[in-house]
Amino acid sequence: MLEKLTQLVNQARSELTAAQTSEQLEGWRLAYLGKKGALTLLLRNLGSLPADQRPEAGRVANEVKMTLESLYTARVEELRQGVLETELTRGALDVHLPGRPQQLGNLHISTQTLREIYAIFGRLGFDILRSPEVEDDYTNFQLLNIPQHHPARDMWSTFYTDLPGVILRTHTSPGQIYAMRKYYPQPFRVILPGKCYRYEQVSSRSEQMFYQVEAIAVGENITMSDLKGVLTYFARSMFGADRKVRLRPSYFPFTEPSAEVDIECFLCQGQGCPMCKHSGWLEILGSGMIHPQVLRNGGYDPDRYTGFALGMGPERIAILKHGITDIRYFFNNDMRFLQQFA
């Protein structure tokens, strides 16, 4: 009996080593450990042994069973490992092929610039307010201290509509009136973004439609030094921390004093180049202290309140920042342009 067991172990061991596939393995398991397997049959014969040999044979038979089982488990593991290894050597990808293209959309460059402006003024506590694009002459001009036929009207070429007195707004400045009437009598600071329109021949430098963002602050203690501080903060946030900023006297009928704001040309570092018309400076926005009459038209007493206003064009800013050579790209909506700014 013991002999048979030893023989069985040896035979099983060699057959197990020969088993290569999971089918052969299963065959082996059935042959030795299965219900009709060799070991089971042997164990069934234990009863026919003399009683004194039974305990010893039973012990050995159990050992054999455990040995065979652990051999089987090890072989299963060994084979699985082998299969995996074979799989892994066959499974290499062509890593030089490009990845799966992802489809992300993108925001229009004007929107991106607007958001940047919102963020910068947001950090300074400015609200955002919008007012109508189609506006009346009274609000677009007259309430801003630009009477009919006033010479200052030369500064804005206007689109007129067939509705009497209704025009396309030439700037976001009428928003100043809406803002003042909304916040009165509180002090406030707000930016006024939106589309504006000018009756100007479309060219590489001029568009009939464009965005503008006006920023205004009104209070009992707002000065032109605050304006300069805000402008400097804005220009450096937008164009770089060590940009030089320059204020130059100018004229807008709704501000007094008025100033044009230039930043140092970043193409030539102020040395002069075609982009800055050899001046070393790039004009980025107009600004000033709100004219007393405009404050009054908004409801604020100019003897008590002061305020500043500034206005800029996001397209102009984008043009300068990205070196865009032609403003007409903005509203042509050529994906080859728009997707450059993704």
């Binding site: 799966r100 293209p101 925001l107 229009h108 506590g125 955002i128 030094s225 006297p249 909506n333």
Partner: protein, 819 residues
């Protein structure tokens, strides 16, 4: 305004380089846009002032002469020229002489081309240089003759020293009307550089008969003509102006005509006072009178006259005319009449220097479309105190340059004389507006450098008398601006607002709009921005029949730049399709959106209704083409619907869809987007003929437009946390067979309702039609997910729910289980 530096220097000392001066002016509020240098190319050792010594006939050519020129060197040189203004026997003319090696413009070339002068033989005679034309020197296009310099030109002097110049091109804002003259600019230069201005005193010639009795002036409408001054000059000889005057006019951008017209232009450029010269002999007396009369009055409606430019003009009663005893002789401040024009035969000049209401002049010049130099200046405001000084200066020049004999005295009718403006600048106004402290004495010094007369009052205010030419200064803030620009805006502090202000208020409207943009970009769409103005032909393309919309329903621009952009848009659909079409020419996938306003007439409202719209357009391949996704399917209705469903889910808006028959869309492939019972937009596959009309080169295009205001009004972005169940999920499929017309969304909703709270998800994963189902039937296969928040579900429980679902769909839709 073009300012020749040589002219400017006559009134103020300038010791800055042109570039430095330009910088000072720019920072002082007179933006110098361009600096042009005249004579840059005139090498000082090659181009000289010369003098003709002798002119001989060229031995070989009839039309050429040999000119010997003295140019200050030991030996004069002989050159060959064909200039028609040099003749055999001439001697003594001052000319511009260029020697070999000079680099000049090629006078014969059409385009601008430079050439270096080489030694050459012309028809057998050696030419040692050249006498130059204006074109060759780059002054003008004149090449018919050579330049003849004034008699006092210094022979041998480098031309650049004698004739070189720098011209500043200054951009003047409307408040800078006072600087539309050389003296006006000189005044600013003086104030900005701490110099004094020098204006030549008039000679006050009084040789002729007194002017009184020879002309009568009446202002019938003094509200439009505060002042009318006039002088009379007789015996004038009309001829070309001298070279120096012509040259100054040319450099300042005006064309010389004759000495009288040139003098009026010259004095206008010098002082800023427009002048007008009438032929005195043609000025008529009133009926029954003998003295020629000028009457300044409003036109009668439909009154007519021909202006100097030869055009017949029709006036209305808002326009101001200069008339004489017989009728109109000029449009006041805008342009003279043709009949009283100065001609070769004019011998007596009635010279007008008047002042007019600027708004009225601007309006007249705009309505009549006459943009004259005079109207430009009057339209921006001219100092009424200027008339006499300008008249005297003109009289001096007409005496000097046209041999005129001035009548003694001037006519001066001045009904609109103003008292000087006085402004009290409160003590703290500078600090209040600028945020910096300046000493009162310093403020006074700055203002006085600009001719303001200042007194410091007991209360600290500065009482300021405004000079008559400062029409732009009327309130304290104007004075603050003057102080600020002279002190220097760069000297302001950089402070951030330190006033206590209410905290920043969110703008939900804008925030939601930006969220919409982010969601759509996340869906793979690119944002476009198209014009707000459109054309009706493009809108018509939105219907297969190309039905033109009714123009009366649209707001129309009265002055569009082109007929392409003539109407304010009422839809974004056409420009979205146009953008898709133009891009599909070079990409195979277009996925775009736009958020913009449309403009709808609102009867009885101050302004049109301007709601926000969203449009989305999809066309072409679903996937970007690559080796992984070659032959991608084309985007269809469901791609677009999925984008909108995503958007609505993210915004928390419960939109519904109803089939829609819309002319722009493929029949049966469009839905109306409903929200709270109201339609807010439409979505679908574009009608093939509409695609064709827009030249969309893709198998199909999908389009959506909705009312974004309505959508965002229902947005619910407040999220409440829902507990996450740890209990196991049970998932089973349910295939139902229903009639074709049964709506899958209705079935899904019923399943949801019947399933109750333990049915957590229902996904339609297959739709099948086939013979075994029978004609007009379809199978809808749903995957149902069951889960309880707090216990493990048994199959008995889900079977109960499933039975309930099957009962209800059977009852409502006659749905049968698919076997």
């Amino acid at each position: 305004m073009l300012v020749p530096l040589s002219w400017l220097k006559g009134y103020v000392d300038i010791d800055l380089s042109p570039k430095e001066l330009a910088n000072v002016l720019t920072l002082g509020g007179l933006e110098v846009e361009n600096i042009r240098t005249i004579g840059q190319d005139w090498a000082p050792d090659k181009v000289f002032v010369g003098q003709v010594v002798q002119v001989r006939q060229h031995p070989q050519a009839d039309r050429l002469v040999l000119v010997t020129v003295d140019y200050g060197q030991a030996e004069p040189l002989e050159v060959v020229t064909g200039a028609p203004n040099l003749h055999v026997g001439d001697c003594g003319q001052k000319v511009v002489f260029a020697i070999i090696g000079a680099r000049l413009i090629d006078g014969h070339a059409e385009e601008l081309r430079y050439q270096v002068l080489k030694k050459s033989k012309i028809r057998g005679v050696e030419s040692a240089g050249m006498v130059c034309s204006e074109k060759e020197l780059g002054i003008s296009d004149e090449h018919s003759g050579i330049v003849i310099l004034p008699e006092d030109a210094p022979v041998g002097s480098p031309l650049v020293d004698y004739w070189g110049d720098t011209i500043l091109d200054i951009k003047l804002e409307p408040n800078m009307a006072r600087c539309l003259s050389i003296i006006g600019v000189a005044r600013e230069v003086a104030a900005l550089t701490g110099k004094r201005i020098k204006v030549p005193a008039a000679r006050n010639i009084t040789v002729g008969e007194p002017i009184g009795g020879q002309i009568r002036v009446e202002i019938a409408d003094p509200d439009l003509c505060p002042r009318y001054s006039a002088a009379l000059i007789k015996g004038v000889k009309i001829k070309p102006s001298p070279q120096w005057l012509q040259r100054r006019l040319t450099l300042a951008g005006m064309r010389p005509i004759n000495n009288i017209v040139d003098i009026t232009n010259y004095v206008m450029l010098e002082f800023g006072q427009p002048l007008h010269a009438f032929d005195y002999k043609l000025v008529r007396a009133l009926p029954g009178e003998s003295t020629p009369a000028i009457i300044v009055r409003r036109a009668h409606d439909q009154e007519t006259m021909s202006t100097l430019d030869g055009n017949q003009r029709v006036f209305n009663s808002e326009m101001l005319l200069i008339t004489d005893g017989g009728g109109p002789v000029g449009v006041a401040g805008v342009m003279g009449g043709l009949e009283s024009e100065i001609t070769e035969s004019t011998s007596a000049i009635l010279l007008e220097a008047a002042n007019f209401n600027y708004i009225n002049i601007r309006r007249t010049s705009t309505v009549l479309k006459i943009p004259s130099e005079a109207a430009y200046r009057f339209g921006r405001g001219v100092d009424p105190e200027l008339t006499l000084a300008a008249l005297r200066r003109s009289v001096d020049l007409m005496n000097e340059l046209a041999e005129g004999i001035p009548a003694s005295g001037c006519i001066d009718v001045y009904p609109g004389k103003q008292v000087p403006t006085i402004i009290d600048l409160p003590a703290h106004e500078i600090k209040r507006l600028l945020g910096i402290d300046l000493e009162p004495a310093y403020i006074v010094r700055l203002l006085e450098s600009l001719d303001f007369k200042c007194t410091i009052m007991a209360n600290g205010a500065i009482r300021t008398v405004v000079p008559s030419y400062r029409l732009d200064v009327s309130i304290p803030a104007d004075l603050v601006e003057e102080v600020a620009r002279l002190h220097g805006l760069d000297k302001l502090r950089d402070t951030l607002i330190d006033e206590e202000m209410p905290g920043q208020q969110p703008n939900r409207d804008i925030e939601l709009e930006e969220r919409v943009r982010d969601i759509l970009v996340g869906c793979g769409l690119s944002e476009i921005i198209t014009y707000s103005m459109t054309n009706l032909a493009s809108v018509a393309c939105l219907t297969p029949e190309r039905t033109m919309p009714s123009a009366e329903q649209y707001i129309k621009l009265t002055n569009p730049l082109s007929s392409e952009h003539e109407y304010l848009r009422q839809t974004l659909m056409n420009t979205t399709l146009e953008t898709m079409a133009s891009n599909l020419r070079f990409v195979d996938r277009v996925a775009v959106f736009e958020i913009a306003n449309v403009y709808l007439p609102a009867i009885g409202q101050r302004l049109p209704y301007q709601p926000r719209r969203l449009s989305i357009g999809l066309a072409g391949a679903r996937d970007i083409r690559s080796w992984l996704t070659n032959d991608s399917p084309i985007m269809d209705f469901y791609d677009l619907k999925g984008v909108l469903e995503t958007l609505c889910r993210r915004l928390g808006v419960p939109t519904q869809f109803e089939p829609e028959a819309h002319p722009s869309f493929y029949p049966g492939r469009a839905v109306r987007i409903n929200l709270g019972g109201a339609s807010i937009g439409v979505l679908g596959e574009v009608h093939p003929q509409v695609c064709q009309a827009f030249n969309i080169e893709a198998p199909r295009a999908c389009l959506l437009e909705l009312d974004l205001d309505a959508l965002l009004a229902q947005a619910n972005t407040d999220v409440l946390f829902t507990g996450i169940s740890r209990m196991p999920k049970l998932s089973e499929d349910l295939a139902l067979v229903v009639a074709d017309e049964v709506r899958s969304d209705d079935v899904a909703r019923t399943i949801h309702e019947a399933g109750g709270s333990l049915l957590v998800d229902v996904v339609l994963f297959d739709v099948y039609r086939g013979k075994q189902l029978g004609e007009g039937r379809k199978s809808l296969a749903f995957n149902l997910t069951f889960q309880s928040p707090d216990r493990t579900l048994t199959t008995e429980q889900t079977a109960q729910i499933r039975a309930r679902i099957i009962r209800q769909v059977a009852q409502k839709y006659q749905a049968e289980l698919r076997s």
